[in-house]
Amino acid sequence: MNHHSTIEPSTDARTLAQSHFRTPRLGTPFQPRIDALGLQQDWYNWAGYRAPHSLWDEELEYFAIRSQAALFDISPMTKYRIEGPDAEAYLDRVTLRDVTKLRPGRVHYTAWCDDEGFVLDDGTLFRLSPTRFRLCSQERHLPWLLDSAIGYEVSVEEETEAVAGLALQGPTSFAVLRDAGFAGVERLRVFDLAEFAHDGATVTISRTGFTGDLGYELFVPADKALSLWDRLMAAGELRGIRAIGYTALNRARLEAGLIVANADFTTAEHAIRADRLRMPDEIGLGFMIDPEKGHFNGRRAILEARAKKKLRHVLVGLEIEGNIPAEHAIVYYKKSQEVGLVSAAIWSPMAKRNIALASLQRPYGDAIVDDLWVEIYAMRELQYQKLMKKAKIVPRPFIKLDRRTANPPADF
């Protein structure tokens, strides 16, 4: 190389993208609307985006989910576009559930594992056409998805920034969509999806959500995000639509008994400590495994662990006496033997019960389900009030709302 020349700064697209360092927390395509409503200025970092814990009042935001319609920005969720003649076979190989049974226009909740059978993540798989899918997840997986694609005629593209997403959840969510003019939305049954015209583009609406309530998720090209927001807000004005933050959504998801990656379990690519890895059966996702469907990543290890009874953990729903949330409490057997940890807990307004998700070491939670206790350290005015409370294993979801699955959906 020539040591005497000077290297000129380049001006290509890659170089222009340098300026991202000035905005480590990106706004989502909905940010102008959310900022205007974010009275609390209570932001957190969701995968590099500035996302609200709460916008105006975290308690009342929760009740908006359960009484009216709540709008929650899910744009930071990682999204992959997976397309090609082999897309179905490829996804059937990568993910746990049987993708050949997932018809175009349907969505299912699934998970995927590494070759040792440890869960890399859970997420939702949208079948947009016979050969086109969208995979949504908490963490990022591009190297894994690309490496797994070797030998398949399929393309995998990360489209997190290009696609904006909204969850519209709550009893009036259907009425809001209908009034917004999405004709035919009444035909969507739970886990159905369909495409609708919006602002010269297409919005994909699915009857899915993270609240256990009647609800929908909408995906739209990023440049149509604001017009979609405005369309929903205008239509929802008379039906109590409100924007909400994550704290409210988190309560609703716990009532629905749903788990969150890297909150209720540690994903395999992030687990530094080898004993933190979890197989699907250890976090309540055993129902996804279909031993009949042919090979999928992790199959051998998972079936072997089942056969040799090597599964060490189990994730359970707990109902705890009293009303003090048991977040991150230790679970005991006979009040003395440590057998697990609560990963999330709230007082459930809908169930009027003190509920929790916990990971227990088998056989506790599996063969032994009685005499379980949680020790709650409740900090009150600079003193721990230590409570030993009885915990009962209960099925999830903690609440079941008929309106979630009613067909046709009701107005409220």
Binding site: T6, S10, F21, P24, G48, L142
Partner: protein, 539 residues
């Protein structure tokens, strides 16, 4: 005539750490240092008025926090400041930065490869797992696998248990990691050249190996297992330059009653009846001590300071063959203003980070080719930084100290000694590389100190100018460092101990060799060590 309880040869950081722990155990300790200042390879020197140079080591991460605490170094002025991640400039006028923010880091990598951007988490997980395995070993004496003493068996068992605690996959990875090349290791995670170059640099620093040489993956680990106040893998500046580390150590030592003699070069160790009795200074003065601890590297200690006839021949042969090849030099520059890098936005945090210009593994390997041929690299690899962007104590306001670590520089040029003309040519290769990316750079230079392996050996006393007192290859680590059978800081001679970076766990301004050696000496003296903290937990 007075006999000191212990004489430490060399006032580098390990010698001082060792001396501090011995003095605090109640011994009467003398440190003898050939230079007129203490510090060894951790110094801050005012070589031109107003500018302090970290003229040898230049950044801090590996220095063990347990030692800082035990020896009260903050009380004696030690402060370590974390800095930004760093950047590699690319030849097409762009750069790749490492940002401390996880998402900014991912977006930066995604400018070059979305795949590599998302591969970072797995890479980081795997390296962290390896660091967690090795970290607890730093502050322990390596077991002697040929010994059947209970404590060696205990230590072996500890090692074995730690190893057995790994999953089969991790075990395999550990064995590969300790022996494979950094280039091969990175190929398993990344596809983009500049991203691989960005990580590979930690695998070659201070090592006479190229990124494609087996063993360089471990060298990367060696640079990742440090911390700044609990942030593992982070690097920082010692406020006031690296001399702040040894200045604080010297002050701590003196405050506990220790004695330092500078300008006192040891000619040889005084040996009578196979036992070290003290040292003879170059003027002929004899200084007596009940034991002698050498902070000098293993070659200097046993090939220059001890008469060969006193040593067993297998030991001698192994010491002669100990790999301590010089591979790097240092260019320290005083600048009258902050250099500009047109590729960098003016508000970029990279100005406060380490900067590099080698944007591919191949260029690094080519630079190594020059070393093999007995030349300094025509297109060298630089680890360059401007500590004065964060540390106001090292230069007048608006002026700056720039530290350039330069690789590769062979210990000899085509088999002959370095000349002043060689040194100037070496410096020119560095300055012209920087000037390529920073127009007008030459005009900002007020003063410059150029250190080839010749100067480093002559002034600091590091054989061949090797910054680690011996290469960090697997055959020279743990119970094989420096040589088999002598990895526990003792030597074939009664009363003569080693405490430099030639011993476990190696170099990098860690202090652990000095501390571990003190623990062994105090064990031999049957002295309790309540003043010595155990290694911090890795949980």
């Amino acid at each position: 005539m007075k006999a000191w309880d212990a004489i430490v040869i060399g006032g580098g950081h390990n010698g001082l750490v060792n001396a501090c722990y011995l003095q605090r155990a109640g011994l009467d300790v003398l440190v003898v240092e050939k230079n007129d200042w203490v510090g060894g390879a951790a110094t801050s020197r005012e070589l031109t008025p107003g500018f302090l140079y970290s003229n040898c080591s230049y950044v801090c991460s590996l220095f063990r926090p347990e030692i800082m605490r035990d020896l009260e170094l903050p009380r004696f002025g030690l402060q370590v400041i974390s800095y930004e991640g760093g950047a590699v400039f690319t030849r097409d006028g762009d750069y790749l930065a490492n940002y401390r923010d996880h998402d900014a880091h991912r977006r930066e990598f995604a400018r070059f490869s979305r795949r590599d951007a998302e591969a970072y988490d797995r890479y980081s997980r795997d390296v962290t797992r390896q660091c967690r395995f090795i970290q607890p070993l730093l502050m322990r004496t390596a077991p002697d696998p040929t010994s059947f003493r209970p404590r060696d068996l205990g230590e072996l068992l500890y090692l074995g248990r730690k190893f057995a605690g790994l999953t089969a996959e991790e075990m395999a990875l550990t064995l590969r990691f300790w022996t494979m090349s950094i280039s091969d290791f990175l190929d398993e995670y990344f596809e983009t050249d500049v991203i691989k170059a960005n990580f590979a640099l930690s695998g070659i620093i201070g090592t006479a190996l190229g990124p494609m040489s087996p063993g360089t993956a471990y060298v990367l680990l060696h640079h990742y297992m440090g911390e700044v106040d609990g942030s593992v893998g982070a690097w920082g500046y010692a406020r006031g330059g690296m001399g702040a580390v040894t200045k604080a150590l010297a002050a701590s030592f003196r405050a506990s009653g220790g004695t330092i003699r500078t300008g006192a070069e040891v000619d040889h160790v005084l040996i009578r009846n196979g036992k070290a009795r003290g040292v003879v200074l170059s003027g002929g003065e004899e200084v007596y001590g009940k034991l002698v601890v050498s902070n000098a590297d293993v070659k200097r200690t046993f090939l220059k300071l001890v008469e060969e006839k006193e040593l067993p021949d297998i030991f001698l042969r192994r010491v002669r063959n100990f790999k301590i090849r010089g591979s790097s030099g240092k260019v320290n520059i005083a600048l009258d203003s902050l250099p500009e890098f047109p590729a960098l936005p003016k508000d970029s945090p990279v100005y406060r980070a380490d900067m590099h210009f080698t944007d591919s593994i191949e260029r690094m390997e080519r630079a190594y080719d020059d070393w093999k041929a007995g030349r300094w690299s025509a297109d060298p690899f630089l680890d360059m930084m401007i500590p004065t962007t964060l540390d106001p104590t090292m230069a007048p306001p608006g002026k700056h100290f720039m530290s350039c670590f330069v690789q590769y520089a062979p210990p000899k040029i085509n088999g002959r000694d370095w000349t002043d003309a060689d040194r100037d040519g070496f410096a020119e290769s560095v300055i012209s590389q920087i000037a390529q990316y920073s127009p007008g750079f030459r005009d900002r230079i007020v003063h410059m100190e150029v250190r080839t392996p010749r100067e480093i050996e002559a002034e600091v006393g590091l054989t061949e100018g090797n910054i680690f007192q011996g290469e960090l290859t697997f055959d020279q680590l743990l119970f094989n460092r420096p040589v088999p059978g002598y990895a526990q800081y003792r030597s074939p001679l009664s009363g003569l101990y080693m405490c430099g970076s030639s011993t476990h766990p190696g170099g990098g301004v860690m202090g652990a060799p000095g501390r571990n050696a003190a623990a062994e000496i105090l064990r031999d003296l049957a002295k309790p060590t309540p003043h010595m903290s155990p290694a911090h937990d890795v949980i």
